[in-house]
Every structure is written in C-alpha cells, then in structure tokens.
C-alpha cells in the first residue's frame, strides 16, 4: 500500500523557506544528468518514475488530486495510487495502459537536475528507445525480481550499449514481492554479469529496489540490510557524467551559422562538440583544411577567455578564410578525417523498409549530404545479439552496412564522438526521418590525411622484383579446396621466381587477428584487416595469395575498392555445398548440422557467390593440380 501522506524524503522546503537565496545559490550550481529508464509496464517503470517525481516533490496537490481520481477510475492498483497514470501522457496510451512514445520528465534533488527519457520497452518500440538513449548519460535497466533477466533485458542492455551509454544501473525491482531475498537478487546479478560482459558492458551497478514501496530509492532500506551500496538517487546524484570525457578530447565545433551583421564582423556560430578553445589557438577548417587562429570568442555577456564542450558560442578568426555551415572547426594539429564511404550501424525507424542503393539525405552534425546505403552485411537479432543475413532492414531492425555519400563528410567514429559519429537518414520524398546511424570507420582513406611521401615507391619495389603486384583472392565454401589450390599456385609461382606471400585464414588468426572470434562482425573485421595487409604487401611489390571463405559480396568488394584497378583477382572456388559437405575434411559440417557450430557458412549463414569473378574454378570437373595450373596460366600467359 502506498501511503501518499508520507513526507517526501527529498524535502528542501526548510531551506527554501528559511533562506531562499542560499537555496538558489546551491541550485544554480547544480549539474545535470540525463538518463533513460528501460523496462516494460510490467517491470514497474512508470511506477518508478512516478515515485521519483513524487519523492522529489515534483507533483503538485492538484496533480495529486487528479491522480487519485484517475487511479480510481482507470487505475490498475485498485483503490491505491497508480503512479503510472502520472507519466503516461497521451489519451490513447492511457486507455491502452501502455507507454507508446518517448516522454521527457524532470526532477531535481539537492545535488542535480535530472531529465528522464521515459520510453516503452516492447520490441516494436526499439526506435523510441534508441531515440531516448541517444541523449542519455546513464541507463536504468529495470528487472522484475520475480522474473529475472528476460529477453527484453538483454535487448535494452544491448541498445543502451550500442548508443554508447557508459553508465548502466541494473535496478532489480519489486523486491517486496520476493520477500527482499538476497539470494534472488544475487542470482539475477550473476546472470546479468555473464551476459553483460558478452556484449561489452564492463561495469554496471545493481540495486535492489521497490518502486512501489520506495525501498532503496532515496536512501537505504531497512528491508535490505544485506545491500551496502548506494540508493538509486544517491547513485544518480554522484555518478560522473560524460561531459568530462568530451572535454578531454581534441577541439571540434560543427559550424551552424555564419554571423555577419556588417562588413566588420564575421563569426562562426556552433555548439562545441568536444574539447576546449581559447583565443590564439591554431585551428583548421574541415573539409577544406584551411588554417587560421581564433581571435575572439564572442557572446552577449562579453568575450570569453575559454569555451568548452557543451557551450554554444561564436568564434572569430584572425584570417579571412572560407568557412560556412556544415564545416567543422578543429584544433589544427589534430583534425578529424573526411571521407565519403563508411561502415555504420543503422537502426531503421520507418514503416517502409530500407532500399539499398536509394539516395537518402544524411544529416550528421550540421552537414547534410546525399547518401546511399548498401545491402546490410548483417542484421542483429536484438534479443539474442546473433548476426543474421539480411537483404534489407525493416522497422526497428538494426544492421551493419556500408554507405557512401556524394561528397566528403567530416566525421569521427561514434565510439569516440557522438556529435560527429551519429547521423540520421531522411527520405527525400516523404521527408521523414527513416533511420539513425552510428559511423564505425571510413572505407577509403580520408581526403585530408596526407600520406608521407617515400622516395622508394611501390613502382620501384615492383620493378626490383620484376613483376606486377596482385592480390589473388580465393573465396568459396569451407572445404571447397581454397587452401589446397592456393598453396599449389604459390609453389608454381615460386618456381617461376615470382615473389609471393600466402595469407591463410587459420594462420592469420594465430597472430594479427587472434583477438577476433567467428561472429559476422568479427569476420568482417577479419577480412578488413587482411585486405589492409594485402594492400601493404602489394605496395611492397608482392603477389599476395589469400584463402578465406569471405562469404559476403560487400566485404570482398570492400577489399577490391582498396586496391588499384586490375590488381584484385577474385578466384571463386566453386564447389557445391553437397560436395564440400561430403568431403568434410575438418569434420566441421557434421558439427554444424548437429547444431554445435553457429553461423556456419552454407548451413545457417549464407554464402554469396561472386557475380563476376575474374576466375571461376569448378572443382567437380578438375583436380586441385589442374585448377592451380589453370590459374597460373591465366595470370602469366
């Protein structure tokens, strides 16, 4: 039973009444924390938020009276106060008894101001949760103590991690309904820890609470003497926000608007994304690369000596250089890159599915460009984190894909910089925001990273070896015969005095790629690194032979794009699945069929055969020796 006549614990009335000026002085120096609450109606999320508002005295008497009346009329708690009604805003939602959209709530304690993004927990509202998480410093993940870690708990945790939230609170709610049993709590925490480390959440704080009864919300609860950690509010009040980290990074400010009231003044207005800036700092404007120095930081309240991440300012330069909306002002000696091809994680938010190849508007920072997205490399099952093959992404789907823009975009990886790594896609016909994305890395070298010229160039290396560098890229199913044939090809080339190097899948994983596993994401990274190594070796003049399954066209195309035209020779070892499975040299197909190996190419993970390989070898019609012979003959006529 919730007793609404209880005095709220966060009662600052005394100070307000006695010394308002001191109270205001304290209040004006408060910092701000934005957080998101994740959980479904059943987990008691709305009840918890209602409780936070109530305990911090953000509910007025007239609202409370309306709440009491509503609780009796449509509430789900019988005659008791239904806090959920306080926060479920729209009429339709109230009738259905679920929270549909993102709602923002505000409350203040003695130490901080809080903005809560209240989002629905069901899978069909993934986009809403992603929206709420995008601005959050911290996530409160609610778990019903009676039910423990559920599929949705995993989904919420994954999404928060994906959006870059570093502070995670696991709030084990409804402890009152399990008799405040420590064993129940510990079991849930243990299960969660195992899962969290799997997806890369390195630390989190678990708190046993009851939103309904108020245990461990604002202070320690007598019902959980075994819990020694902070209450939820205590933790929210003291946890470090991301601002400090942003400030420690190199200076970047996307230019929003050029301020030009008259011929004597030209300033560049924007919100500082990272770092700090002072008059006299040497800066570089991206993507042009032009440099100047900061002469003034102008505000209505007077010029500033320094401005920091999170502030909106207007900067003036010592020199007249071109700079306009969409450009990024950065510290001169450590500028961000610009590129026009990227790999990114994409969250699809529209009812109409993604159309690979279609041109969308991409907005990142203050830059808006045309962009097209390639077919996804994979889609992530948000409940199991498994990577699935996908041709497109539909509403609420999350996948990884390459995208290209019509002109260079100044960016940083999302993991380093939310402001220069997070983007939205806008449909050019409907103007709807159809997707959100997070950039991983660029696929082509950036325009503004200059290569250190070397006197002995790649041509020189190749000439010394008296050969044309090349990458012989073998692709095909496991057991198709790639390694066997590649090995024979290298032996033949060596006999012809060719300088070669064979990069074999298994061998590379003993060293360079030993940190990678066999998920699709790791496979992509595996191929990317091999591509980069192969590229360096062609610069050294070598003929590189690679033997990897490399099942996805997009990855092979990515490597092809890295090389000079004509250097990449795709060799498709075309062995039908039945044949490869019948051979099963390593016994892997048997394991995969038995379900012991996940994501096995050809069984539960697709193989995308090359459409136009330079060379195709049909192993059902020739021996390995004959195949090697044919390949060498094609290369060196």
């Amino acid at each position: 039973m919730t007793d609404v006549t209880d005095e709220p614990i966060y009662k600052t009335d005394a100070l307000i009444a006695e010394d308002i000026d001191r109270y205001l002085d304290v209040h004006q120096h408060k910092s701000m924390l934005r957080f998101i609450t994740c959980g479904s109606v059943d987990d008691g999320k709305s009840t918890l938020i209602g409780r936070l508002l109530y305990d911090s005295k953000m509910i007025f008497e007239d609202q409370l009276a309306a709440l009491e009346a509503d609780s009796k009329r449509v509430g789900t708690q019988g005659q008791e106060i239904d806090f959920a009604l306080l926060v479920d805003g729209l009429a339709a939602e109230r009738e259905q008894g679920i929270t549909i959209d993102v709602a923002y709530r505000f409350f203040t304690t003695e130490k901080r101001k809080f903005i809560v993004a209240d989002t629905p927990g069901h899978e069909q509202y993934t986009r809403n949760m992603v929206t709420g998480a995008s601005t959050a410093d911290l996530a409160v993940i609610l778990v019903d103590a009676r039910k423990g870690i559920l599929t949705q708990t995993r989904r919420h945790s994954y999404l928060c991690h994906l959006l870059g939230i570093r502070n995670i609170v696991l709030a084990v709610n409804k402890m009152d309904l399990v008799g405040y049993d420590q064993a129940v709590f510990n079991r849930i925490v243990m299960t969660y820890r195992a899962f969290a480390s799997e997806i890369g959440i390195t630390h989190f704080l678990a708190i046993p609470i009851s939103g309904f009864k108020g245990d461990n919300i604002t202070g320690p609860s007598d019902n959980t003497p075994w819990y020694k950690g902070p209450s939820l509010i205590e933790h929210l009040e003291t946890v470090e926000v991301d601002q400090a980290a942003d400030r420690a990074r190199p200076f970047r400010m996307p230019v929003q608007w050029v301020n030009r009231p008259n011929l004597d003044f030209r300033g560049f207005s924007g919100l500082i994304a990272t770092g700090t800036v002072k008059p006299g700092d040497a800066i570089r404007v991206l993507p042009s690369g032009k440099t100047s120095t900061i002469s003034r930081i102008v505000t209505l309240d007077g010029d500033l000596d320094e401005a920091v991440a999170g502030q909106s300012v207007t900067l003036c330069f010592a020199d007249e250089i071109d700079c306009s909306r969409g450009d990024v002002i950065a510290i001169a000696d450590s500028p961000p890159q610009a590129a026009d091809q990227f790999e990114a994680t994409i969250v699809w938010m529209a009812d109409e599915e993604m159309l690979p190849g279609r041109s969308y508007w991409l907005k990142i920072g203050t830059q808006t460009v045309s962009a097209s997205v390639q077919a996804p490399k994979y889609q992530v099952n948000v409940n199991t984190m498994e990577h699935l093959a996908a041709k497109t992404l539909d509403l609420n789907a999350i996948g990884v894909a390459n995208l290209s823009t019509d002109k260079p975009v100044v960016f940083e990886p999302y993991a380093d910089n939310r402001a220069l790594g997070g983007f939205i896609l806008i449909d050019k016909i409907s103007n709807a925001t159809v997707a959100a994305g997070m950039l991983h890395f660029s696929l082509r070298r950036a325009q503004n990273v200059h290569w250190q010229p070397t006197d002995i160039g790649r041509e020189h290396h190749a000439a010394l070896k008296n050969q044309q560098p090349a990458v012989l890229w073998f692709t095909g199913l496991s057991g198709a015969g790639k390694s066997t044939i590649a090995n024979l090809v290298e032996k033949k080339l060596a006999r012809m005095n060719r300088h070669t190097f064979l990069l074999d899948g298994d061998n590379v994983r003993h060293g360079l790629n030993r940190d990678l596993g066999f998920t699709d994401a790791d496979r992509v990274e595996n191929i990317r690194r091999v591509g980069e190594v192969a590229k360096l070796m062609t610069d050294a003049g070598l003929i590189v032979i690679t033997a990897f399954i490399s099942p996805f066209r997009s990855e092979r195309d990515m490597v092809r794009q890295m090389m000079r035209p004509g250097e990449f020779v795709e060799i498709f070892i075309d062995t039908p699945l039945a044949e490869a499975e019948a051979r099963d040299v390593k016994g892997l197909y048997k394991k995969a069929r038995a379900g012991e190996l996940k994501n096995f190419t050809g069984i539960d993970s697709p193989y995308e055969a090359p459409e136009n390989p330079e060379i195709r070898i049909d192993t059902t019609g020739m021996s390995a020796e004959e195949a090697a012979e044919a390949i060498v003959a094609r290369l060196i006529p």
Binding site: R105, F106, W257, G310, Q311
Partner: protein
C-alpha cells in the same frame, strides 16, 4: 555563472536552446518567434538575442493578440521589440474583431477564435514556415511527448502518433508542401529553471509577476484583476484591492491571480517552490474536456 569544472544545468539548457534556434535559422525559409509576453517568452527572447549576437535575431516577433491582455503586457511587448531591434508583428483575427468576441460573453469561443484561429491566419498570411514557441515539457502531460521540432499539417493540426524521431541534437527540418514547424527551444526547461535564469540574467518581465495591491473580484473560485473599464461587474460586485500576483499571464479576464506578498524575484521563486498547485491551474483553458484537454486543443491547432 561559469564553473571551471562542469557546466551547470542552466548553462547546458542555454546551450541547447541556442543550438536549436540557430538550426532553425539555418534551415527554415521564413522563421518567426511567437511572443506572448509571458515569462517563458521573455526567456526565449533573451536566448535568441544571445544566439545571434552581435546580430539582432534574424526573424520577427509575432504577437497573436486578443485585445484582452493586461495593459502591462502591451507595454513590455513594445519596449522589448525596440530593445532587441526586431520587427514586431501584431495580429488580430479580423472576424473576431468584427464580431466583438470577448472572454465574458463567448467563453471557449474567445480562445478558439482569437488565439487558435488567429495564429493559423497569421502564419498563413505571412507564410512563416517555422514558428518558435515557449512551451515547456513540464507544463502538461501531452507536452512531455511533443518533439522540439513539431510538425503541423497544412491545416495546422498535430498528429501525436506520427512524430519524427529526434536523436542526439539532430533535427530534421525538411518540410512537405504546406507543412509548417512549431519549434520549442525551451522544451527541457522547468518553471524553476525559467525563474532562476530570469534572476541570473536580469531578463525583463511583466511586473504583474510581482505582488502589488491591485483591484480584484472573485468569480467562480478565481481571483480576477479588473485591468480596465471593459470588465463588466455583475450586480453586487465591487472591485477589492488585494495584494496579488500572477503565476502565468494570458487574457486578464481568464487569468486567475494568487494572493501573495512576494514582491522580489527571490520571494516569487520561494513562493513557487513552496506552492502546492501546478502553474497552469490558474488557466481556465486546461480544464476543458477533462484530462485530455490540452492534447485535444493541440490537435486542433492550438500552440
């Protein structure tokens, strides 16, 4: 108020609001700021002056007037337009004017014609495609879910079920033909934030927010101020001088005052914090149509 270590919540809110305004100016063709002369409008105007300094804010102020505002509001409005160097547009719905629509005789029709219809007409007349408004999410439940960039159809209606997702600080300002945007730069501010910002930045506000002896009558449980001779006194009604102030300002015959002695900002804030009723309670408008009153009004085009 700068702190060497962490930005304060007001500094973060200010930076966010300024960022929003600059995005609108950069992306909209013809922006306007709706100026209602209340304390939220005052803060919004001050933020606009900061956002574009040393330029004046590059858009006009629009006051959709009902002719029934407090006299002190008209005075401040004209003064602020002058000080900010901005163009002031005042719009009166000609039909409401002709029919003599007033809050005493016409009830809900008054708000509907002067404000809701008047706003639509003014936006259409000038062809504004983006209008800043001073609404806050903590004011009312349906506001809590409204986006910062909130789209309206050609007929100015709001579809709460079909709002664009807003991630990070990326706003999609691309409009379809006929659509316009209502932009709420102070969405994330609370009433206390507003007051405190006014105090720290010396933002000029209407004196009616401070307690003073004023002529009043009590009607339907509300304390109304007799601001001019148009106030029709009912038989037996006699204006009584009371020390009152207003927590929110609108048309004087529709705005309830509270009895108060708070004559300084600190005292007003103190009273606000210790009060037990929410600020919109003084307004008759929210009580129409039960709990979903504001949401319904917004769908019909009310700001």
């Amino acid at each position: 108020m700068a702190d060497a270590k962490t930005l304060t919540h007001l500094e973060r809110l200010e930076a966010e609001s300024i960022h929003i305004m600059r995005e609108v100016v950069a992306e909209a063709e013809r922006p306007v700021m709706l100026y209602s002369v209340g304390k939220d409008s005052a803060v919004m105007l001050h933020l606009a002056r900061k956002a574009f300094y040393p330029s004046p804010p590059p858009f006009p102020l629009l006051h959709v007037d009902t002719t029934w505002k407090f006299r002190a509001m008209y005075e401040l409005r004209d003064r602020m337009a002058k000080e900010s160097g901005m163009e002031l547009l005042v719009y009166h719905n000609p039909e409401a004017q002709e029919r003599g629509i007033n809050p005493f005789d016409h009830g809900a029709l008054h708000t509907d014609m002067w404000k809701t219809e008047g706003l639509k007409q003014a936006l259409d007349l000038y062809g504004f495609d983006a209008a800043f408004g001073g609404a806050r999410r903590d004011e009312e439940k349906s506001r809590a879910k409204e986006r910062i960039f909130s789209f309206r159809t050609a007929s100015h209606s709001w579809d709460p079920k079909n709002q664009r997702p807003e991630l990070w600080n990326l706003y999609n300002a691309k409009k379809n033909k006929g659509e316009s945007i209502r932009v709420f730069p102070i969405s994330n501010w609370t009433e206390l934030d507003i007051w405190q910002y006014i105090q720290l930045n010396d933002v000029p506000i209407v004196p009616l927010y401070f307690a003073e002896e004023r002529p009043t009558v009590e009607r339907d449980g509300m304390l109304l101020m007799v601001d001019d001779e148009r106030f029709p006194l009912k038989p037996g009604e006699e204006p009584v001088m009371r020390s009152i102030r207003f927590r929110t300002l609108g048309c004087y015959p529709l705005t309830g005052a509270v009895e108060s002695k708070a004559s300084t900002l600190s005292e007003v804030i103190q009273e606000t914090l210790l009060t037990t009723t929410s600020e919109r309670q003084g307004r008759a408008i929210d009580k129409d149509a039960g709990g979903a009153g504001m949401e319904k009004k917004k769908q019909e085009g009310y700001f």
